[in-house]
Symmetry: C2
Subunit: 387 residues, 2 copies
């Protein structure tokens, strides 16, 4: 195995499209433009142009997948374990792309961006964006700006996996393979319920002010509670038991008060909430969770089997045993519908009791499975190029 290295220092770039008179037509019926797209790339596109991989980020992710944006950064990008020289998505071999989703708040146009019609932030005047719209923007970036004609693979976990499925449906000729991880063709009622709790928590914060808070105190308390509840759903009973159990936080006995946290798990959650509000916009949280709730390939196409009718990529569908937010049965539904269309689709349920977020951890079986699948797809592409 070659040495694993970081991609080093990378810069988040911005590409702007849908400038007047062009505008992007959205699924909700509205139009939007201009649109900034924040993205990063790692590695080099080869001469054949057949080594490009698009990574789609999860609900609150961003374009910064790997490396650091500056030497002072405390942490590398969100999937640095997976992407880099010698890593499972090996940037010595592949040209890796990731962009911030439409509606996000980390460089791509979203509700916090300036509405050119008012010169004020959009707030709730931002149109509702769907996974289809996000994928349309990614497609524009990849083809028009980066000049990639075909993607070797589109990969993403959770909400990112939904984007992967959408890519396979909307641009079947453009992607050789698809790798949705811990994902779903439609969000469950329970997951919608948790999203709704997060949104209600934001709505309930008087600072939210119907989304109009960019000149005042943002609704940090509501957003922090939304993040806390989300965070519990990314972990599992077992991972929380093993990580925290009932250990107390800097104290020998419980406090019998409502002051500092009694338990480590409370302190951890408060920290997660507090750090999240420093990097995320509450309105973006509303838009992204709505896009996730609305995603439903069966509804949009009649049935999941019909949704995959024109798919022309090979699939690797991954799930985790301990994931209760996007349970394995949802990945199996995807695989069954692909097989009904004779789409080559492998399915692997990876043993892990650590919940939904496992795809972000260093999991040897996950690493091997992803790197093996990509090698195989890349070899096949090379052979068909040569033939």
């Amino acid at each position: 195995m070659s040495e694993k290295k970081s991609v080093g220092i990378v810069k988040t770039e911005t590409w702007t499209f849908a400038r007047p008179p062009e505008r992007l037509k959205l699924r909700c019926g509205e139009e939007l433009g201009p649109i900034d797209v924040a993205y990063e790339t790692y590695g080099e596109l080869n001469e054949e142009g057949d080594n490009a991989i698009l990574i789609c980020h999860a609900l609150t992710g961003d374009a910064h997948v790997a490396g650091k944006n500056s030497p002072e950064d405390r942490k590398p990008g969100w999937w640095d374990l997976m992407v880099g020289p010698g890593k499972p998505i090996d940037t010595k071999t592949y040209f890796v792309i990731c962009s911030n989703c439409l509606g996000g708040c980390q460089g791509t146009t979203g509700p916090a961006s300036i509405n050119p019609e008012t010169n004020e932030p959009y707030g709730l005047d931002f149109p509702m964006v769907t996974v289809e719209d996000m994928v349309k923007v990614q497609h524009a970036l990849v083809t028009r700006h980066l000049g990639v004609k075909k993607l070797l693979s589109v990969i993403g976990g959770s909400f990112g996996g939904m984007q992967v499925l959408q890519w396979a449906i909307d641009y079947p000729q453009m992607i050789t393979s698809a790798l949705p991880i811990a994902s779903s063709a439609r969000l469950s009622a329970q997951a919608i319920a948790f999203d709704e709790v997060g949104r209600q928590s934001i709505y309930s914060d008087p600072n939210w002010n119907d989304g109009d808070y960019y000149d005042s105190e943002p609704p940090h308390r509501g957003l922090a509670v939304a993040r806390m509840v989300g965070h519990i759903t990314y972990l599992s009973d077992r991972s929380m038991r093993e990580k925290f159990g009932r250990s107390l936080q800097d104290r020998k006995t419980v406090g019998y008060d409502f002051g500092p946290p009694d338990f480590q798990v409370e302190s951890y959650l408060r920290y997660q909430g507090d750090s999240f509000v420093r990097r995320f916009d509450a309105n973006s949280y509303l838009y992204m969770t709505k896009a996730m709730d609305y995603f439903d390939l069966s509804e949009n196409h009649g049935s999941l089997i019909e949704a995959f009718e024109f798919v022309d990529s090979s699939f690797l569908v991954l799930s985790f045993t301990g994931d209760w937010l996007f349970p394995t049965y949802q990945s199996q539904d995807i695989v069954r519908a692909l097989h009904a269309n004779a789409v080559p689709a492998s399915f692997c349920e990876i043993e892990s009791d650590y919940g939904h977020d496992v795809f972000l951890l260093d999991h040897p079986a996950l690493n091997r499975t992803i790197s093996g699948f990509l090698s195989q797809v890349y070899t096949t592409v090379g052979e068909s190029d040569a033939s």
Copy 2:
């Protein structure tokens, strides 16, 4: 099987104790008094005084278990399916008691009650109360006020089951049998985390005002969000899928906005939140969740086995397959520790994928198991009385 009837119209009674100079010593070190205890009883105490059953309510329950308080009531008490003439806890045979927990808000002294030292509601001056304290109050009611010398059984689900365990430990000679349902000897990290989310949601509501809101608008929005997240944990992925799935609420397509709920599950949650705030006090929610978080028989006694050392009751421990808030392994921990002390303890995991709240539903296996256990215990008591 005899006909199932309602207990009819019942009145919630109040008994007051710990009047000056008496005060109740609490586990936190503080003292409290006077204490009102709201309670209801159904059926008659028999001459032998051996047919009394105490029911302990769950986190947000109250003393009103069965029947209606007035003919106009839309709904009967919270366990009307279980308690009544001909029902599993048959009031033709048993004398059934239930009281509102200390710290509650449905008639028993809690943070919304008047603090005699200030003539204002306690608010956060109310001392932290624990399951031990709640059980102490129940014991006072049962022995001093109702004149019951020994309880045939103490029964409760969830937080009520914690009270059952505490009864068996603190008053081993006073209870013939114990029936904890979907309960735990100590709350899991995940459940503490959900409780903390609920509390943070209340703290975040500016109307909460550090618990001082009895003369102003109460923190209804924060409390509603707390209830919503709690409610999800009482159900299950499957029950929510079967009950709501992705059905839309009074509309044919999603709204692409942040207005009325898109999905039925969202509408249901909003309704749960809204109706809860009409009957529950936010401060009580804080105190009750803290009491639940703090409950830890292992911590309080060295180990769970030591906790049960002097237990002298027969046990029936029940859990549900689909309960992820108080999972079966927690009931099994209780049973193992009881068996290590040679306590007669039966364990039954009831098949149901409907989550934690199953004990409140009409579940034939649950009904049979409870009525059978009680009959057997009652017969044994009768035989030993006769001998």
